[in-house]
Protein backbone atom coordinates (compact mmCIF):
# COMPACT_ATOMS: atom_id res chain seq x y z
CA UNK A 1 0.00 0.00 0.00
CA UNK A 2 2.84 2.35 0.92
CA UNK A 3 4.55 1.48 -2.35
CA UNK A 4 1.42 2.21 -4.36
CA UNK A 5 0.99 5.57 -2.64
CA UNK A 6 4.69 6.33 -3.08
CA UNK A 7 4.78 5.59 -6.79
CA UNK A 8 1.58 7.59 -7.30
CA UNK A 9 3.19 10.61 -5.66
CA UNK A 10 6.29 10.00 -7.79
CA UNK A 11 4.09 10.04 -10.89
CA UNK A 12 2.57 13.34 -9.78
CA UNK A 13 6.05 14.72 -9.15
CA UNK A 14 7.06 13.69 -12.67
CA UNK A 15 4.02 15.50 -14.05
CA UNK A 16 5.09 18.66 -12.21
CA UNK A 17 8.60 18.35 -13.67
CA UNK A 18 7.18 17.94 -17.18
CA UNK A 19 4.88 20.93 -16.72
CA UNK A 20 7.70 23.21 -15.59
CA UNK A 21 10.05 21.96 -18.30
CA UNK A 22 7.50 22.82 -20.99
CA UNK A 23 6.77 26.16 -19.35
CA UNK A 24 10.49 26.93 -19.33
CA UNK A 25 10.75 26.04 -23.02
CA UNK A 26 7.77 28.25 -23.82
CA UNK A 27 9.22 31.19 -21.88
CA UNK A 28 12.62 30.77 -23.54
CA UNK A 29 10.90 30.79 -26.92
CA UNK A 30 8.94 33.96 -26.08
CA UNK A 31 12.03 35.67 -24.63
CA UNK A 32 14.01 34.88 -27.77
CA UNK A 33 11.35 36.61 -29.84
CA UNK A 34 10.99 39.63 -27.58
CA UNK A 35 14.61 40.28 -26.73
CA UNK A 36 15.83 40.55 -30.28
CA UNK A 37 17.25 37.05 -30.15
CA UNK A 38 15.05 36.63 -33.18
CA UNK A 39 14.85 39.55 -35.60
CA UNK A 40 13.34 40.12 -39.02
CA UNK A 41 14.30 42.92 -41.39
CA UNK A 42 12.50 43.44 -44.67
CA UNK A 43 14.81 43.78 -47.67
CA UNK A 44 13.71 46.91 -49.56
CA UNK A 45 15.55 46.47 -52.87
CA UNK A 46 14.01 43.26 -54.14
CA UNK A 47 11.94 43.16 -57.36
CA UNK A 48 8.48 42.59 -55.86
CA UNK A 49 6.11 41.05 -58.38
CA UNK A 50 8.97 39.50 -60.34
CA UNK A 51 8.46 35.97 -61.66
CA UNK A 52 11.85 34.35 -62.17
CA UNK A 53 12.84 33.65 -65.78
CA UNK A 54 14.53 30.44 -64.76
CA UNK A 55 13.77 28.17 -61.81
CA UNK A 56 16.12 25.24 -61.09
CA UNK A 57 14.49 21.85 -61.58
CA UNK A 58 14.98 20.74 -57.98
CA UNK A 59 12.76 23.60 -56.76
CA UNK A 60 10.63 23.77 -59.92
CA UNK A 61 7.38 23.47 -57.92
CA UNK A 62 8.01 27.02 -56.76
CA UNK A 63 6.38 28.27 -59.98
CA UNK A 64 3.08 26.51 -59.38
CA UNK A 65 2.82 26.97 -55.61
CA UNK A 66 -0.04 29.15 -54.44
CA UNK A 67 1.97 30.35 -51.44
CA UNK A 68 5.62 29.56 -51.00
CA UNK A 69 8.60 30.67 -49.00
CA UNK A 70 12.16 30.17 -50.19
CA UNK A 71 14.81 30.09 -47.50
CA UNK A 72 18.24 31.25 -48.66
CA UNK A 73 20.94 29.77 -46.44
CA UNK A 74 24.66 30.25 -46.89
CA UNK A 75 27.21 27.61 -45.99
CA UNK A 76 29.42 30.42 -44.68
CA UNK A 77 27.09 31.90 -42.04
CA UNK A 78 26.64 30.54 -38.53
CA UNK A 79 23.02 31.75 -38.28
CA UNK A 80 22.20 29.65 -41.34
CA UNK A 81 23.58 26.55 -39.63
CA UNK A 82 21.41 27.32 -36.60
CA UNK A 83 18.35 27.79 -38.83
CA UNK A 84 19.08 24.40 -40.44
CA UNK A 85 19.21 22.86 -36.97
CA UNK A 86 15.88 24.51 -36.08
CA UNK A 87 14.35 23.04 -39.24
CA UNK A 88 15.19 19.57 -37.89
CA UNK A 89 12.89 20.30 -34.94
CA UNK A 90 10.20 21.88 -37.11
CA UNK A 91 9.83 20.01 -40.40
CA UNK A 92 6.96 22.33 -41.43
CA UNK A 93 8.21 25.72 -40.23
CA UNK A 94 5.73 27.99 -42.00
CA UNK A 95 2.19 26.68 -42.22
CA UNK A 96 0.13 27.37 -45.32
CA UNK A 97 3.31 27.88 -47.35
CA UNK A 98 5.34 25.41 -49.36
CA UNK A 99 8.95 25.65 -48.26
CA UNK A 100 11.94 25.60 -50.62
CA UNK A 101 15.59 25.97 -49.76
CA UNK A 102 18.44 27.55 -51.69
CA UNK A 103 21.92 26.84 -50.35
CA UNK A 104 24.34 29.57 -51.36
CA UNK A 105 27.85 28.20 -51.39
CA UNK A 106 31.28 28.92 -52.82
CA UNK A 107 31.65 25.34 -54.07
CA UNK A 108 29.37 22.42 -54.88
CA UNK A 109 30.83 19.92 -52.38
CA UNK A 110 30.33 22.25 -49.41
CA UNK A 111 26.78 22.97 -50.55
CA UNK A 112 25.93 19.30 -50.94
CA UNK A 113 27.27 18.57 -47.45
CA UNK A 114 25.19 21.44 -46.02
CA UNK A 115 21.97 20.34 -47.72
CA UNK A 116 22.43 16.82 -46.31
CA UNK A 117 21.59 18.00 -42.81
CA UNK A 118 18.46 16.35 -41.34
CA UNK A 119 16.53 19.63 -41.27
CA UNK A 120 17.09 20.30 -44.98
CA UNK A 121 17.09 16.81 -46.44
CA UNK A 122 13.27 16.48 -46.69
CA UNK A 123 12.83 19.90 -48.35
CA UNK A 124 13.18 20.74 -52.07
CA UNK A 125 16.63 22.24 -52.26
CA UNK A 126 18.89 23.91 -54.82
CA UNK A 127 22.61 24.40 -54.34
CA UNK A 128 23.42 27.83 -55.75
CA UNK A 129 27.14 28.07 -56.45
CA UNK A 130 28.39 31.56 -55.70
CA UNK A 131 24.84 32.67 -54.93
CA UNK A 132 24.56 33.57 -58.62
CA UNK A 133 20.94 32.62 -59.20
CA UNK A 134 19.42 34.18 -56.13
CA UNK A 135 21.37 37.42 -56.49
CA UNK A 136 20.73 37.83 -60.23
CA UNK A 137 17.04 36.90 -60.09
CA UNK A 138 16.02 38.55 -56.82
CA UNK A 139 18.86 40.90 -55.87
CA UNK A 140 19.24 39.05 -52.56
CA UNK A 141 22.73 38.95 -51.12
CA UNK A 142 21.95 38.37 -47.45
CA UNK A 143 21.46 35.18 -45.50
CA UNK A 144 19.61 33.70 -43.87
CA UNK A 145 16.79 35.28 -45.79
CA UNK A 146 13.23 34.28 -46.65
CA UNK A 147 11.66 35.12 -50.00
CA UNK A 148 7.88 34.99 -49.99
CA UNK A 149 6.12 34.02 -53.23
CA UNK A 150 2.48 34.13 -54.29
CA UNK A 151 1.63 32.08 -57.38
CA UNK A 152 5.25 32.06 -58.49
CA UNK A 153 5.82 35.80 -58.10
CA UNK A 154 8.04 37.38 -55.46
CA UNK A 155 6.01 39.25 -52.83
CA UNK A 156 8.67 40.25 -50.31
CA UNK A 157 12.00 39.24 -48.87
CA UNK A 158 13.33 39.46 -45.36
CA UNK A 159 16.46 38.67 -43.41
CA UNK A 160 15.89 36.66 -40.26
CA UNK A 161 17.87 34.62 -37.78
CA UNK A 162 15.26 32.46 -36.10
CA UNK A 163 12.52 30.26 -37.54
CA UNK A 164 10.01 31.06 -34.78
CA UNK A 165 10.42 34.80 -35.39
CA UNK A 166 10.10 34.33 -39.14
CA UNK A 167 6.90 32.36 -38.62
CA UNK A 168 5.42 35.13 -36.45
CA UNK A 169 6.43 37.80 -38.97
CA UNK A 170 4.86 35.85 -41.81
CA UNK A 171 1.67 35.17 -39.85
CA UNK A 172 1.35 38.91 -39.20
CA UNK A 173 1.97 39.88 -42.83
CA UNK A 174 -0.49 37.21 -44.04
CA UNK A 175 -3.20 38.63 -41.77
CA UNK A 176 -2.43 42.15 -43.00
CA UNK A 177 -2.69 41.02 -46.62
CA UNK A 178 -5.95 39.19 -45.91
CA UNK A 179 -7.40 42.27 -44.23
Amino acid sequence: MYYLFGFTTLLLAAAIVALFAMMGALKASIDAGESGGGTVHVLPDVPAGHAPDFVPESIGDLRGADRAVMLVLSTACSSCAEVARQLADEPRPVTAHDVFVVVSTPDRATGDAFRGQPGLAPLPCFVDEGGQWVSSEFNVRHSPSALVFRRGRLVSAMVFNDIATLRRAMATSTKEVAA
Binding site: F5, G6, L10, A13, A18, G24, A28
Partner: protein
Protein backbone atom coordinates in the same frame (compact mmCIF):
# COMPACT_ATOMS: atom_id res chain seq x y z
CA UNK B 1 21.21 0.51 9.55
CA UNK B 2 24.97 1.05 9.25
CA UNK B 3 26.42 4.37 8.19
CA UNK B 4 27.33 2.98 4.77
CA UNK B 5 23.79 1.71 4.28
CA UNK B 6 22.36 5.05 5.33
CA UNK B 7 24.62 6.87 2.87
CA UNK B 8 23.62 4.43 0.13
CA UNK B 9 19.93 4.92 0.93
CA UNK B 10 20.21 8.72 0.84
CA UNK B 11 22.21 8.38 -2.36
CA UNK B 12 19.42 6.31 -3.92
CA UNK B 13 16.81 8.91 -3.02
CA UNK B 14 18.93 11.72 -4.46
CA UNK B 15 20.00 9.82 -7.57
CA UNK B 16 16.42 8.74 -8.31
CA UNK B 17 15.19 12.31 -7.96
CA UNK B 18 17.92 13.60 -10.30
CA UNK B 19 17.21 10.90 -12.87
CA UNK B 20 13.44 11.47 -12.74
CA UNK B 21 13.91 15.23 -13.23
CA UNK B 22 16.41 14.73 -16.05
CA UNK B 23 14.43 11.97 -17.76
CA UNK B 24 11.03 13.65 -17.63
CA UNK B 25 12.38 17.07 -18.66
CA UNK B 26 14.30 15.62 -21.62
CA UNK B 27 11.21 13.68 -22.68
CA UNK B 28 9.11 16.84 -22.59
CA UNK B 29 11.73 19.14 -24.16
CA UNK B 30 14.40 17.15 -26.03
CA UNK B 31 15.65 20.04 -28.20
CA UNK B 32 18.28 21.58 -25.89
CA UNK B 33 19.88 18.22 -25.03
CA UNK B 34 19.88 17.25 -28.71
CA UNK B 35 21.68 20.46 -29.66
CA UNK B 36 24.21 19.98 -26.85
CA UNK B 37 25.01 16.40 -27.80
CA UNK B 38 25.17 17.23 -31.50
CA UNK B 39 27.54 20.12 -30.81
CA UNK B 40 29.94 17.52 -29.37
CA UNK B 41 29.20 14.73 -31.85
CA UNK B 42 27.77 16.17 -35.10
CA UNK B 43 27.21 12.66 -36.49
CA UNK B 44 24.41 12.18 -33.97
CA UNK B 45 22.42 14.90 -35.77
CA UNK B 46 20.76 12.12 -37.75
CA UNK B 47 19.44 10.46 -34.59
CA UNK B 48 18.02 13.73 -33.20
CA UNK B 49 15.24 13.90 -30.65
CA UNK B 50 14.44 10.13 -30.66
CA UNK B 51 17.94 9.44 -29.32
CA UNK B 52 17.47 11.95 -26.50
CA UNK B 53 14.08 10.46 -25.65
CA UNK B 54 15.53 6.94 -25.65
CA UNK B 55 18.21 8.00 -23.16
CA UNK B 56 15.56 9.78 -21.10
CA UNK B 57 13.47 6.60 -20.99
CA UNK B 58 16.43 4.62 -19.68
CA UNK B 59 17.03 7.34 -17.07
CA UNK B 60 13.43 6.97 -15.89
CA UNK B 61 13.60 3.18 -15.82
CA UNK B 62 16.82 3.41 -13.83
CA UNK B 63 15.23 5.84 -11.35
CA UNK B 64 12.25 3.55 -10.79
CA UNK B 65 14.44 0.46 -10.72
CA UNK B 66 16.49 1.90 -7.87
CA UNK B 67 13.33 2.00 -5.75
CA UNK B 68 12.32 -1.61 -6.47
CA UNK B 69 14.41 -4.09 -4.42
CA UNK B 70 14.21 -6.90 -6.98
CA UNK B 71 15.84 -4.93 -9.79
CA UNK B 72 17.96 -2.52 -7.74
CA UNK B 73 21.35 -4.14 -8.59
CA UNK B 74 20.58 -3.92 -12.33
CA UNK B 75 19.46 -0.31 -11.91
CA UNK B 76 22.67 0.39 -10.01
CA UNK B 77 24.73 -0.88 -12.94
CA UNK B 78 22.71 1.32 -15.27
CA UNK B 79 23.27 4.26 -12.91
CA UNK B 80 27.01 3.60 -12.96
CA UNK B 81 26.90 3.66 -16.75
CA UNK B 82 25.05 6.98 -16.66
CA UNK B 83 27.62 8.30 -14.20
CA UNK B 84 30.44 7.36 -16.53
CA UNK B 85 28.55 8.86 -19.48
CA UNK B 86 27.85 12.15 -17.68
CA UNK B 87 31.49 12.43 -16.66
CA UNK B 88 32.62 11.63 -20.21
CA UNK B 89 30.47 14.34 -21.81
CA UNK B 90 31.63 16.74 -19.10
CA UNK B 91 35.26 16.07 -19.98
CA UNK B 92 34.51 16.26 -23.71
CA UNK B 93 32.69 19.57 -23.24
CA UNK B 94 35.60 21.04 -21.31
CA UNK B 95 38.15 19.85 -23.87
CA UNK B 96 36.07 21.24 -26.75
CA UNK B 97 35.37 24.51 -24.88
CA UNK B 98 31.78 23.95 -25.93
CA UNK B 99 29.34 26.78 -25.03
CA UNK B 100 26.02 25.14 -25.96
CA UNK B 101 23.86 24.73 -22.81
CA UNK B 102 23.81 21.07 -21.79
CA UNK B 103 20.01 20.79 -21.73
CA UNK B 104 20.34 18.07 -19.07
CA UNK B 105 17.09 19.21 -17.42
CA UNK B 106 15.40 20.41 -20.59
CA UNK B 107 16.53 24.01 -20.29
CA UNK B 108 17.77 25.93 -23.32
CA UNK B 109 19.84 28.17 -21.06
CA UNK B 110 22.43 27.36 -18.44
CA UNK B 111 25.83 25.81 -18.24
CA UNK B 112 27.45 23.84 -21.03
CA UNK B 113 28.90 20.37 -20.50
CA UNK B 114 31.69 20.69 -17.95
CA UNK B 115 32.72 20.27 -14.34
CA UNK B 116 29.12 19.96 -13.05
CA UNK B 117 28.54 16.92 -15.26
CA UNK B 118 31.82 15.39 -14.12
CA UNK B 119 30.88 15.89 -10.46
CA UNK B 120 27.35 14.52 -10.99
CA UNK B 121 28.72 11.54 -12.90
CA UNK B 122 31.23 10.77 -10.18
CA UNK B 123 28.55 11.04 -7.49
CA UNK B 124 26.23 8.67 -9.36
CA UNK B 125 29.04 6.18 -9.81
CA UNK B 126 29.92 6.29 -6.10
CA UNK B 127 26.27 5.72 -5.13
CA UNK B 128 26.07 2.84 -7.62
CA UNK B 129 29.09 1.17 -6.03
CA UNK B 130 27.62 1.66 -2.54
CA UNK B 131 24.33 0.13 -3.66
CA UNK B 132 25.99 -2.91 -5.20
CA UNK B 133 28.36 -3.45 -2.27
CA UNK B 134 26.02 -2.72 0.67
CA UNK B 135 22.67 -3.76 -0.83
CA UNK B 136 20.78 -1.32 1.41
CA UNK B 137 17.23 -1.98 2.54
CA UNK B 138 14.92 0.95 1.95
CA UNK B 139 11.71 1.67 3.90
CA UNK B 140 8.38 1.35 2.09
CA UNK B 141 8.10 5.13 1.99
CA UNK B 142 11.17 5.37 -0.29
CA UNK B 143 9.15 6.34 -3.41
CA UNK B 144 7.38 9.07 -1.43
CA UNK B 145 10.68 10.49 -0.22
CA UNK B 146 11.99 10.40 -3.80
CA UNK B 147 8.85 12.18 -5.01
CA UNK B 148 9.36 14.92 -2.44
CA UNK B 149 13.02 15.30 -3.42
CA UNK B 150 12.00 15.38 -7.10
CA UNK B 151 9.59 18.25 -6.49
CA UNK B 152 12.22 20.08 -4.42
CA UNK B 153 14.86 19.64 -7.14
CA UNK B 154 12.38 20.79 -9.79
CA UNK B 155 11.54 23.87 -7.70
CA UNK B 156 15.26 24.68 -7.42
CA UNK B 157 15.91 24.18 -11.13
CA UNK B 158 12.87 26.28 -12.10
CA UNK B 159 13.28 28.88 -9.35
CA UNK B 160 13.51 31.76 -11.82
CA UNK B 161 10.26 30.80 -13.54
CA UNK B 162 8.53 30.20 -10.22
CA UNK B 163 9.65 33.62 -8.94
CA UNK B 164 8.38 35.20 -12.17
CA UNK B 165 5.03 33.47 -11.73
CA UNK B 166 4.75 34.63 -8.10
CA UNK B 167 5.55 38.23 -9.04
CA UNK B 168 3.09 38.15 -11.95
CA UNK B 169 0.36 36.70 -9.72
CA UNK B 170 0.92 39.39 -7.08
CA UNK B 171 0.81 42.14 -9.69
CA UNK B 172 -2.42 40.75 -11.10
CA UNK B 173 -3.93 40.73 -7.61
CA UNK B 174 -3.16 44.43 -7.03
CA UNK B 175 -6.12 46.85 -7.24
CA UNK B 176 -6.30 48.70 -10.56
CA UNK B 177 -5.63 52.12 -8.94
CA UNK B 178 -2.47 50.87 -7.25
CA UNK B 179 -1.05 49.41 -10.43
CA UNK B 180 -1.88 52.61 -12.33
CA UNK B 181 -4.49 51.02 -14.58
CA UNK B 182 -7.88 52.76 -14.74
Amino acid sequence: MSAANAVAAVGIYAASAVLVCAGVAKHAVPGPARRAVCSLVPRLEQAGAPLVRAVATIELLTAVGLLVPAVRPVAAVSMAAFGAGFAAVGVAGMLASERTPCGCFGSATGRPFGITNIAAGAALSVVAVLVVVNRPTLPAMAPTVTAALTVALCAWLQRVHIATLIVATRRAALPAETSGVR
